[in-house]
């Protein structure tokens, strides 16, 4: 079965004023959609056709000859995950087991926030900032372009898109403002907690 574009888990204007309807229209309707279309075109008629998204990603990761498939497949996965990492009225702090794990592995929630902000701000060019489970330990990482934790044996718990298209219409060059807003107003900690619980 061909890969499909998942619907956004909220209305296009649900994240305003932090992320505009216009940004989500392009980001979901054009960018994410184009990755899906490109991926289907690239795998059509190959042994990758019909494979799950995760299997596709892991089977071409590190293969320079399959960079096109990897980039598009990974970007399909990254964006589907990113939408779920946000919600209207999000932000604040996690509770329960996730909060305890963050305190145990980073020292404090504030220490995690600092690391995550730094990862997002210092990912030069296009890419992503992540909270991952690496073995039994929570870590903050950053990846360039389409790269993702799955290609490094890590489990993604939270991501933030820092490609310029994610924030340029709303924040232009002010990436740090987008990052702060993402953490304070948008993060869906319930989704992150569920990812940890399922790990």
């Amino acid at each position: 079965m061909a890969h499909t574009l998942p619907a956004l888990p909220y209305e296009l204007d649900a994240l305003e004023p932090h992320i505009s309807r216009q940004t989500l229209e392009f980001h979901h309707g054009k960018h994410h959609n184009a990755y899906v279309t490109n991926l289907n075109n690239l795998v059509a008629g190959t042994e990758l056709e019909g494979k799950s998204l995760e299997d596709t990603i892991t089977s071409v990761a590190g293969d320079a000859g399959k960079a096109g498939v990897f980039n598009n497949a990974a970007q399909v996965w990254n964006h589907s995950f990113y939408w779920q990492c946000m919600k209207p009225g999000g932000g604040g702090q996690p509770g329960g087991a996730l909060a305890e794990k963050i305190n145990a592995d980073f020292g404090s929630f504030e220490a995690f926030v600092e690391q995550f902000k730094t990862a997002g701000a210092t990912q030069f060019g296009s890419g992503w900032a992540w909270l991952v489970l690496d073995g039994d330990t929570l870590k903050v990482t950053k990846t360039g372009n389409a790269d993702l934790p799955l290609a490094h044996g890590q489990k993604a718990l939270l991501t933030m898109d820092v490609w310029e298209h994610a924030y340029y219409l709303d924040y232009q060059n002010r990436r740090p403002d987008y990052i702060t807003t993402f953490l304070e107003k948008l993060v869906n900690w319930d989704f992150v907690a569920a990812n940890l619980a399922a790990a």
Partner: protein, 252 residues
């Protein structure tokens, strides 16, 4: 010192502090942001004035400021020209490589553009080299546009003069460029470079990078490209156009 009244003593200490700070200040002369060679709205409608203002006054200015900040901690690199820094990119820390590249790339970008209709045409010599390498001007445009469109993520497309004297189209990621001694980069003298970071076109074109690339050709300043080509070929030049000299008088 005990005979000094406390106020005078503080003054003396302050003087020492100032001396220490001056002595610790970098000998490095600061790189400077070149002014745009035309008003913000000169390239409309292909590139809107707001994009030009943010791109030059924020992005480009940011690269210059961060490069100077990074250099202020590296006395061993003091006195090197921008091109000399780029030529040793492999040994530079990421922050310096990225900001030096961002500084150089944008400087060449502004001067490689002119208001539509003002950019002239390729010289006879350049035209002959283009025909030899790409078949025709159309051939160059297709190859270059393809390289710009295919650059995944952020980066640049380039027309370069190779060391062997032929022209080639290349593409680099992020703020890397053909002057850098990095693995995977075909080195040469950049004659024309196109910014395909999303910040270069997102306010006007959003996801339509291909439309931006097509429209951008009407802005190419061929007079500038001709000059770069002539300088790169001239034995008198170092082979690389110096686009962003340091503060006058600061060169060793």
């Amino acid at each position: 010192m005990s005979f000094l009244i406390p106020a005078l003593r503080r003054l003396l200490m302050l003087g020492w502090l100032v001396l220490l700070l001056v002595a610790a200040a970098p000998a490095q002369a600061a790189f400077e942001l070149p002014p745009l060679p035309y008003p913000f709205d000169a390239l409309e409608p292909v590139i809107d004035a707001r994009t030009m203002e943010i791109h030059h006054d924020r992005h480009h200015a940011g690269y210059v400021a961060q490069l100077n900040a990074a250099l202020s901690e590296r006395d061993d690199l003091a006195g090197l020209s921008l091109e000399q820094l780029l030529a040793r990119a492999r040994r530079l820390p990421d922050a310096m490589r990225n900001n030096a590249g961002g500084y150089w790339n944008h400087s060449q970008f502004w001067s490689a553009m002119a208001p539509a209709g003002d950019g002239g045409a390729p010289s006879e010599e350049l035209e002959a080299a283009i025909d030899a390498a790409f078949g025709s001007a159309q051939g160059l445009q297709e190859r270059f546009s393809q390289a710009a469109a295919a650059r995944f993520g952020s980066g640049w497309a380039w027309l370069i003069l190779r060391p062997d004297g032929t022209l080639a189209v290349t593409s680099t990621a992020n703020q890397d460029n053909p002057l850098m001694n990095l693995p995977g980069i075909e080195r040469g003298t950049p004659l024309l470079g196109l910014d395909v970071w999303e910040h270069a076109y997102y306010l006007s074109y959003q996801n339509r990078r291909a439309d931006y690339i097509t429209a951008w050709w009407s802005l190419v300043n061929w007079d500038q490209v001709n000059q770069r080509y002539a300088e790169a070929l001239s034995p008198a030049s170092a082979g690389q156009p110096t686009l962003s000299p340091r503060t006058p008088g600061a060169e060793p």
